[in-house]
């Protein structure tokens, strides 16, 4: 009940039945554990209008508040108001979130959902069983942080393949990575500037051809490309999985590694979204200025302009390309038109829009390993939507999505090639050059 002093007749609508109260804090201390936690001011931004619900993939599949942005925020708020605890149920609600940030994009009151969820994940970390914590620690703090371990891991996968759990096996691509990108690549003519490439961990180990194509395309368009050897994992997966302190350490090292470049370009959407947020993560002028120099590759190409290839990548005929919007491009970086505009420059390319294309494919960092059921349902949906476009190629600018989509299509018995969009541009340049040589 609202407090209207003694003897004051409360206005109509101020007296509510027993068992109800006007929303707002109840005067109890917050039940957060020590360490990072969602802030009260962030939590207060949600007015519970529900407009985000239909855009949340996990709500769409389950129909339950606990799997919706509004419900997850309400659960966080209950802990902040001292009405609930960080317990197994709370952890379950948070874990099922894809961190795709579709909700953030559609929320009219600008709720900073990603930031709140990262902090909520820090809160639930101590709840995990020791085994789960060990596996995460191994993956996030040892393997991804150290290139050589990751590369060893990749080299060992062919041997380990028969022993891997089936779901990991279907996801991990086979084949070797080929040559690493050069430390410095000079353009043919005078350089327009220096671009530093964030090579990415997963991208660099399993999708190195995309990195090589990136370097060729940038150099062809007049940029000096450097790939600083001291760069480390960007820290996105760590930040999304409750390890903000590890993420901050990694961010600081990258700040130093990329100091000399005019632009920092990222070809993997998940990394790009996170690197752009170093300013938020670390605070301070240097980090903020750094974030301002970061661009997604396709965004950069569109902004700076690229040479129009004289020829299509696949002979004369048209090719139908289904463009996959990675959540970390579409939502977190608001990149939608740029990659399409670049692809449209390629002769013969016809872009097919994927039905419900703004729905997460379920890869979501480690989600596909940690929450296999939900992830599989999203993967099937995505594969079916892509197949319905009758495209022959899928363009995907995020390695996690690429793995997931390739696995989904394979399971559905579809033969589509899944490429980074820059690889199409690179192929078109190569095809044009080959033709010029023929003449």
């Amino acid at each position: 009940m609202a407090g209207f002093g003694e003897g004051v007749e409360p206005p109509l609508g101020a007296v509510m039945p027993e068992g109800t109260r006007f929303i707002g804090p109840v005067g109890l201390a917050a039940n957060w554990r020590p360490g990072d936690a969602p802030s009260d001011d962030d939590l207060a931004t949600c007015v519970a209008c529900g407009l985000c619900l239909p855009h949340c993939p996990t709500y769409r599949l389950t129909g339950e508040e606990s799997a919706s942005p509004r419900g997850r925020i309400a659960a966080m708020r209950a802990v902040a108001d001292g009405r609930a605890n960080v317990d197994a149920t709370f952890a379950r609600f948070m874990d099922l979130c894809l961190e795709c940030r579709a909700c953030e994009d559609v929320c009219p009151s600008h709720v900073p959902f990603g930031r709140m969820m990262e902090r909520a994940r820090v809160q639930i970390e101590p709840l995990r069983t020791r085994r789960a914590r060990f596996v995460r620690w191994l993956g996030l703090s040892v393997v991804l942080r150290r290139r050589w371990v990751l590369s060893l891991g990749r080299r060992l996968t062919p041997l380990a393949r028969p022993f891997l759990r089936k779901r990991v096996r279907t996801l991990v691509p086979g084949g070797g990575p080929g040559r690493r990108v050069a430390r410095t690549t000079e353009p043919e003519g005078p350089a327009k500037g220096t671009v530093a490439l964030v090579t990415g961990c997963v991208q660099d180990q399993w999708y190195r051809p995309a990195n090589r194509a990136t370097v060729r395309v940038l150099a062809r368009n007049g940029w000096r490309v450097i790939a600083p050897r001291h760069q480390v994992c960007c820290g996105a997966l760590q930040a999304h999985n409750g390890r903000l302190s590890t993420a901050r350490k990694l961010a600081r090292r990258n700040l130093a590694a990329f100091r000399d470049a005019d632009w920092v370009v990222v070809a993997a959407a998940g990394c790009g979204a996170h690197v752009k947020e170093y300013g938020d993560l670390l605070g301070g002028e240097e980090a903020t200025a750094f974030s301002a120099r970061v661009r997604d590759l396709m965004e950069f190409l569109d902004e700076q302009g690229v040479e129009r290839p004289g020829h299509g990548p696949a002979g004369e005929g048209p090719i139908r390309v289904a463009y996959h919007d990675a959540c970390h491009a579409l939502r977190a970086q608001r990149i939608k038109e740029q990659p399409r505009a670049v692809l449209r420059l390629i002769p013969g390319v016809e872009i097919a829009e994927v039905p419900d294309g703004d729905r997460c494919c379920g890869a979501a960092g480690l989600y596909n390993v940690l929450e296999p059921d939900m992830s599989d349902r999203l993967m099937e949906q995505k594969a079916a939507s892509i197949a319905s476009t009758e495209a022959t190629i899928v363009a995907s600018a995020n390695p996690g999505c690429t793995m997931q989509i390739a696995a989904g299509l394979r399971n559905a018995g579809r033969r589509l090639e899944v490429l980074h969009p820059v690889e199409l541009l690179d192929r078109a340049y190569a095809a044009a050059d080959a033709r010029a040589d023929d003449r």
């Binding site: 609202a2 407090g3 209207f4 409360p10 206005p11 109509l12 609508g13 101020a14 007296v15 509510m16 039945p17 027993e18 068992g19 109800t20 109260r21 006007f22 929303i23 707002g24 804090p25 207060a44 931004t45 949600c46 007015v47 519970a48 209008c49 529900g50 407009l51 619900l53 239909p54 855009h55 129909g63 339950e64 508040e65 606990s66 419900g71 309400a74 659960a75 209950a78 009405r83 609930a84 317990d87 149920t89 709370f90 609600f93 929320c107 009219p108 009151s109 600008h110 709720v111």
Partner: protein, 487 residues
Amino acid sequence: MADVDAARRELEEALGTTEVLSDPLALTLYARDAAMVEGGCALVAFPHTVEDVVACMQVAARHALPVVPRGSGTGLAGGATPIGDALVVVTSKMDRILEVRPEDRLAWVEPGVLNLDLANAVAPLGFTYAPDPSSQQTCSIGGNVNTNAGGPHCLAYGVTSSHVLAVDVVLPDGTVERFGSEAPEAPGYDLRGILIGSEGTLGIVVGACVRLTPEPPAVRTMLLDFSAVKDCAATVSSIIAGGVVPAAVEMMDHGIIVAAESFAHAGYPTDAAAVLLVEVDGLPEAVEAQSRAVENAARDHGVRTIRVAADDAERALLWKGRKSAFGAVAQIAPHYHLHDCVVPRSKLVDVLAGVYEIAGRHDIIVTNVFHAGDGNLHPLLSFDRRIPGTLERVLSASEQIVRLCVNNGGSLSGEHGIGLEKRDFMPLMFSEVDLGAQACVRAAFDPEGRMNPHKVLPAGARCGDFAMARGTDAAQAAQSIPEGSWI
């Protein structure tokens, strides 16, 4: 005290363990809708079929649990807010469109189908579902039926009750009844009409037969921008007095324009005192003539600029700002409170001036975004509940705003319903006998008073009051209602 544990076991048996929630944190998430009051519940159930709903009702009846139906929980009056040891029955998993019959211009849907999903599903056939609440992407047809929802386009097309031909309802004792029929006019009392807008107090809607409306051949959307609120409001009356009924006439004042623009980037003029978003539709010639009439009315009242949407994309953008306005007010302050009173269009100018004056006197920020064509106000009071004394000022201001509207010949609610937040205002409009009669209707459906208790009718309203006043045998009948069942 009801045996909640036994009820839970029986529900789990009938629906499956995953479809029943009893964890305290999970229950918290169902303690409120989009309004300002929070309650609590004992159990939440997710039926998938009509049989599941019947099972819910039977279990609740056996254990004397109150039942609160819930769709998407976007209600703005606390209608879906449960109290005490209630069983909340959520329809979100009954979300199938059962049948679309373009030749009969109707569709049968389950209650959990989202309004916009239905509209999108019939769009390829050249139809739409006309009532379009601003929450249409999220709100459910079941919720729309139970609040008799309106929307911008209800000015020309009518609110939900004009678009629902029949409803299938599970009554509190577990029986299933159909009210209304596929044929437009059923003989006898219009019980369908009673069900529509009943806010979950009579039964649970498990199916609805909705009317499909053909898409108009031509549409034009215009944004008119004014430097004074009163000119903007006066334009509304002039348009309609001039014989034109546009498909929609929505008004937004300065505060809303700024908040909505920052989200939607629709190019709204952020220096305007108020804008009107007007849409006219019909045959191309009619659209032409109507837009000319609208433009003339606006010029008579000193419109600054008139922007006509050039294509569908621009039209969608203009609407996006309007439809996200409620959510966008959180940029002003974290909490909002509003009443959706309706006033005669001719009173809009005076009432709006009064609303600003009341808010100013209470030192509360007010913004206005509303269905101006129907005179359906939505004065949004924005505040931070965490600052002591603010809530009290908001509640005082709210009461005065509602009284102002009622005194100007208005009504309590245009579309959001009465729910919990407005029930104590009912006596401003209805006599004791009126309220008693309404309680009798309610008791006819729900004699035990277990359906969404505490909602709609004020605390004292009882069927007996009506019967007493009439001095008839009904008084005796009314005595048979169990003691203590507040209905």
